[in-house]
């Protein structure tokens, strides 16, 4: 991460008639960020992204990409995949890339096309018609198209939409690799919160067209951390655990957790070592004590409820 701002959005507003799709949106994406743009369906993510790339006209607000506010010039730094990618189905994957390369002003794009095809692992099928590609291949071809011309900022709208688990993992690894190895700043919108937590360092959460929260993932989690501590206790004698917890005032049994464990809430100043000490003192056979941390999904659900 650096202090150089890759994309700055200020006061972006877009209405469709009386309906406000995006309201006074402010976003700051720094160079090197993998920025997760989150929000429930209909929150205005895609509308905001369309405004950012200039497909929709924002009624208010400004967008700067690497300091450039003239949108046509700003798009030189930008590769984008907005919603479901579309191709000229009767043309080959390679020819589709060639068309895009012409639009980028690349007069001899052959080497560049080879590079992006290899980057997304589509070299073998590049000469097949785009209409014969699977959904995963189409997503990869769309990423290849967005990578043409070596953009410094990549905007990806739901890149894992419709992919199977293997495809999702491949896409996640590709995005991570683009950020790490190609030094590309990535702005990605998705519903898949575990994915975001795995690959993004910063997130913005949108609800009803308004930004509810923005910041580093760790910061967001700690800001929204719960006061009490919750742990899951694994034991071969769950009844013994229940009996001990029932005797302890600052501990409350919450019910069943994952893998047959029991969820226990500890109220301050009672800590996890205190709980362990109490269980050991009663000869309860312990298998695991797992902190039940709040994740991004909890924060997201709380902010967008």
């Amino acid at each position: 991460m650096s202090d150089v701002v890759a994309m700055e959005v200020r006061g972006l507003t877009r209405r469709f008639g009386a309906r406000v799709a995006v309201q006074s949106l402010d976003l700051t994406v720094r160079t090197g960020d993998v920025y997760g743009f989150l929000g429930p369906n209909g929150a205005g993510k895609t509308t905001a992204m369309r405004c950012i790339v200039g497909l929709l006209r924002a009624q208010e607000g400004t967008v700067k990409i690497f300091g450039e506010s003239h949108l046509t010039r700003a798009r030189r730094h930008l590769g984008a995949m907005i919603e479901t990618p579309a191709f000229h189905e009767w043309m080959t994957g390679r020819d589709n890339l060639w068309l895009s390369a012409c639009y980028l002003g690349l007069s001899s794009p052959s080497a560049e096309i080879d590079r992006v095809l290899e980057r997304v692992g589509l070299t073998e099928r590049a000469r097949d018609r785009a209409g014969t590609y699977s959904l995963g291949m189409r997503q990869r071809l769309a990423i290849a198209r967005a990578l043409l011309g070596q953009p410094k900022l990549l905007l990806l709208d739901e890149p894992t939409n419709g992919l199977d688990p293997r495809g999702m993992r491949e896409m996640r690894e590709l995005i991570r690799s683009l950020a790490l190895h190609d030094q590309i700043t990535v702005f990605v919108s998705t519903h898949l919160l575990p994915e975001v937590q795995a690959i993004c360092n910063r997130v913005g959460i949108l609800q009803n067209g308004r930004l509810q929260a923005e910041g580093a993932v760790d910061q967001l989690l700690s800001d929204n951390a719960a006061v009490e501590t919750v742990v899951e206790v694994g034991s071969t004698a769950p009844d013994a655990v229940k009996a001990v917890v029932a005797e302890l005032d600052p501990a409350t049994l919450l019910g069943a957790g994952a893998h047959g464990r029991l969820r226990v809430r500890l109220d301050e100043p009672f800590t996890v070592p205190d709980l362990v000490k109490a269980l050991v003192a009663h000869d309860v056979p312990l298998e695991a004590i797992v902190p039940d941390k709040r994740d991004l999904e909890d924060v997201f659900l709380e902010l967008t409820k």
Binding site: R50, V53, G54, L55, L56, R57, T72, R73, A74, R75, R76, L78, A80, I82, E83, T84, P85, A86, F87, H88, W90, M91, D95, W98, L99, S100, C102, Y103, L104, G105, L106, S107, R145
Partner: protein, 277 residues
């Protein structure tokens, strides 16, 4: 970014479409069919009004090309021009491939001009192919004598007429934004305009038959009759007039230019302010 690259991309894309390729085959077929038709009639021994048709039918390579042009101008190829212009804009808008072009660092007006340029290239190719096939076959069957200048000018005039029509088709596509809507809208406009032209033609003829004392009409009626050569079908059909050596009117050329410029301006403004789905 050079416009030449955009034009190249759009031309390659357009020429890879099945409709464009079939159109070029059709253009060649019209050239060949018209020439063979002329040859068949000239050598058929058909008698009309007591005389053999071959005696009254002029045959030559340029006349074969003129026959082909007349056949083409029966709205056969213009319908394809309309289809290609509509596919280039409304078709790509609906298929969402236009979106992929507009996230590139290219002004929308350059994208539009490249699309118009690609359609212009296709019109030129189709006319050239038809001209070469008709003239080549005609040279073999009839020899080289004939009104080369008129027919060649007719082809050039048809190119300009079709280009002007294409600009109007692009304007319609940017306004309507759907392929069926644009096709139906433009075809209805053509039918309406033909009816109007026919009505004016009949009315002017009827007026000529009236006695002078009944022929007193307001001045604007005279202007309406005088404006007939400015009607779209008259302006777009200027190539046919040129090919038979008819003197064309300046107002028809002016109308041709106006339809082209207004069509492009409407398309450009509309496209510039359109939201892209």
């Amino acid at each position: 970014m050079t416009f030449a690259l955009l034009l190249r991309a759009e031309s390659v894309k357009l020429l890879s479409r099945l409709s464009a390729r079939l159109g070029l085959v059709l253009a060649g077929g019209i050239g060949l069919g018209a020439t063979l038709g002329l040859f068949g009639l000239a050598s058929s021994g058909i008698v009309v009004n007591g005389a053999e048709l071959s005696q009254s039918l002029d045959t030559s390579a340029p006349l074969a090309a003129r026959w082909a042009l007349s056949l083409r101008n029966l709205w056969l190829m213009q319908a394809l021009v309309l289809l290609l212009a509509t596919q280039s804009f409304a078709g790509e808008l609906n298929a969402r491939t236009l979106r992929e072009e507009l996230v590139r660092p290219v002004p929308r007006s350059a994208v539009l001009l490249a699309k118009v340029g690609a359609v212009a290239l296709w019109i030129a190719l189709s006319l050239l192919l038809q001209y070469l096939v008709a003239c080549g076959t005609g040279l073999v069957l009839f020899g080289a004598d004939g009104p080369w200048r008129d027919v060649t000018l007719g082809y050039l005039g048809t190119f300009l007429g079709d280009l002007s029509f294409a600009a109007v088709a692009f304007a319609a596509a940017t306004l309507v934004r759907s392929v069926p809507g644009t096709l139906v809208g433009v075809l209805l406009f053509i039918v309406f305009e033909k009816l109007l032209a026919w009505f004016l033609y009949v009315a002017e003829g009827a007026r000529g038959m009236l006695p002078p004392d009944m022929n007193q009409v307001p001045a604007f009626v005279d202007w309406v009759f005088a404006a007939q050569p400015m009607l779209p079908s008259a302006a777009w059909g200027i190539g046919g007039e040129l090919s038979v050596g008819t003197d064309t009117l300046l107002i028809s050329w002016a109308a041709l230019a106006i339809y082209f410029v207004v069509g492009l301006a409407v398309a450009d403004r509309r496209f510039a302010w359109s939201d892209i789905p």
